[in-house]
Amino acid sequence: MAPMVEAQDVHKSFGTTEVLCGVDMVVQPGEVACVIGPSGSGKSTFLRCVNHLERINSGTMRVDGELIGYREANGKLYELRESEIARQRRHIGMVFQRFHLFPHMTAAENVMEGPRTVRRKSRGACRDQATALLDRVGLADKRDAYPNQLSGGQQQRVAIARALAMEPRLMLFDEPTSALDPELVGEVLDVMRGLARDGMTMLVVTHEMGFAREVGDTLVFMDGGRIVESGHPREVLANPREERTKAFLSKVL
């Protein structure tokens, strides 16, 4: 079976600033990989390269064996059209730090938007699916609420349901709890824990060391656009090999 995510020597610059300087990463199906690191280490940028929200400058990015953003033929790379990139993204769910729910739609409409507009499924089927998904994230009673009527934790759970509605093979989480009040972090982590238990492949950029230790299969520490160290979360957190990892962990733990 092909790895779910396979990044090889990924480089990314914004102007003259190099943000990713050769990142290699493999995430197997069913694996939960957590990425930690100081701000500016490139961890969020790397995540955004996985679904081509950012275009990489060199290296390759494959999801489920498929090259992202390009097509390879006759030994040449062809850029994919907008619609083909959109097609690749259908299988990759993404959850943002600042939720980015659609404010003009209710919770249920947010969840229905992908299946309805992209997959053109019937209204009834989408509504049933939205009800089931909102129930799964514990928000069955909030289906008709608009995002501004929900707390941050509730909004993030709707955002997770919205991503799940496309039945993704991979879920990307970009600091999903960093914009939340401390007492709301738990409810979002609970939902993510449930997802991991159900076998979802997850790539999680996070500052929640507890979550990484408990749920993660792999912990990756990034700094300065490079992967400094990776391994089993308990191992890395308890006995970091690298000085930089030690220094970082001593500040956050």
Binding site: L53, R90, H100, H104, E113, P147, N148, A159, A163
Partner: protein
């Protein structure tokens, strides 16, 4: 706000002497007197000639002018809104030629007077006596006399509509740019195409910002249509001008036109309120 509820029932409301505002009462008195004087003069000053106003308010030429004002406003705004959305999307396109073309259009049409544009369209035949369809720089298959296609009405519509499109383009662009870029990212991450993102996610949110200035534009258009007098077309203002130039009852006839403009503006304002409510869903502050 959280109200602490105790078993003893709600606490009794505060009884206190409210702050007095004598200044406000003076202001109210002044306004009441001024309004009374104004109403009194409206009713008693014979120079207003209310009988003449009544005589012409529903007269045939005024109603025909009114009809033209309405038709021109609705159609010119339709051209303006559709053209404006198109130009705004072009202006925001990553392709520099499309963006540049839109920028030049907006520059040209905002930068020249509407009167000039109206006269230009009316005299198009002087520049291009015949309009034809064919292969660029090649043979022409069909062609017609420009003057038969560009009637005074068509020239009015082109002049007003194409000018409006330039202004609407900037209003729409402002609306689109007011939407958080995270919204487009979230839609893209779900697998929506750029067009779907624009139609389903960005424009509905941009509407909140687009509608109020568009209301302004529509009300302004209602009155700008009177410029068609320069190409010998007519609408409400031209209709009353024609009458008072003959009868010299200038003031009552201007009141006739003003009353109709006020009536139309009132209807438009109510319509705008409903549209704003429709697109304000999910944004109201008191929602929680």
């Amino acid at each position: 706000m959280v109200a602490e509820q105790t078993d003893a029932g709600p606490a009794p409301p505060i009884k206190a002497v409210p702050v007095r505002h004598p200044g406000r009462w003076v202001g109210v008195a002044v306004i009441v007197v001024l309004v009374a004087m104004l109403v009194h003069s409206f009713l008693t000053n014979p120079n207003f000639q209310w009988d003449v106003v009544g005589e012409y308010l529903f007269s045939d030429p005024v109603l025909r002018g009114l009809r033209n004002t309405l038709i021109l406003t609705v159609l010119a705004m339709a051209i303006g809104v559709v053209g404006g959305v198109l130009l705004a999307v072009m202006r925001l396109s990553p392709n520099p030629v499309l963006a540049g073309a839109a920028a030049v259009y907006i520059w040209l049409f905002r930068g020249t007077p509407v009167i000039t544009q109206l006269i230009f369209w009316n005299f198009l035949a002087a520049l291009y006596p015949r309009l034809g369809l064919g292969i660029p720089f090649g043979p022409t298959f069909v062609s017609v006399d420009t003057n038969t296609v560009i009637s005074v009405f068509a020239a009015s519509l082109l002049g007003l509509g194409l000018n409006e499109a330039a202004y609407m383009a900037e209003i729409v662009r402002g609306g689109i740019q007011s939407v958080d870029p995270g919204q487009s990212e979230a839609a893209g991450a779900l697998g929506l195409s750029r067009t779907q993102t624009l139609r389903r996610i960005v424009l509905p949110q941009a509407m909140r910002v687009i509608v109020p200035p568009t209301g302004n534009e529509t009300i302004s258009m209602l009155k700008t249509t009177s410029l068609v007098v320069v190409i010998a077309y007519f609408e409400l203002t031209v209709a009353v001008q024609t009458i008072y130039s003959r009868t010299f009852q200038t003031i009552p006839l201007l009141i006739v036109a003003a009353l109709w403009y006020l009536a139309l503006t009132s209807v438009l304002s109510v319509g705008q309120m409903f549209i704003e409510r429709r697109f304000g869903r999910g944004f109201a502050i008191g929602d929680r």
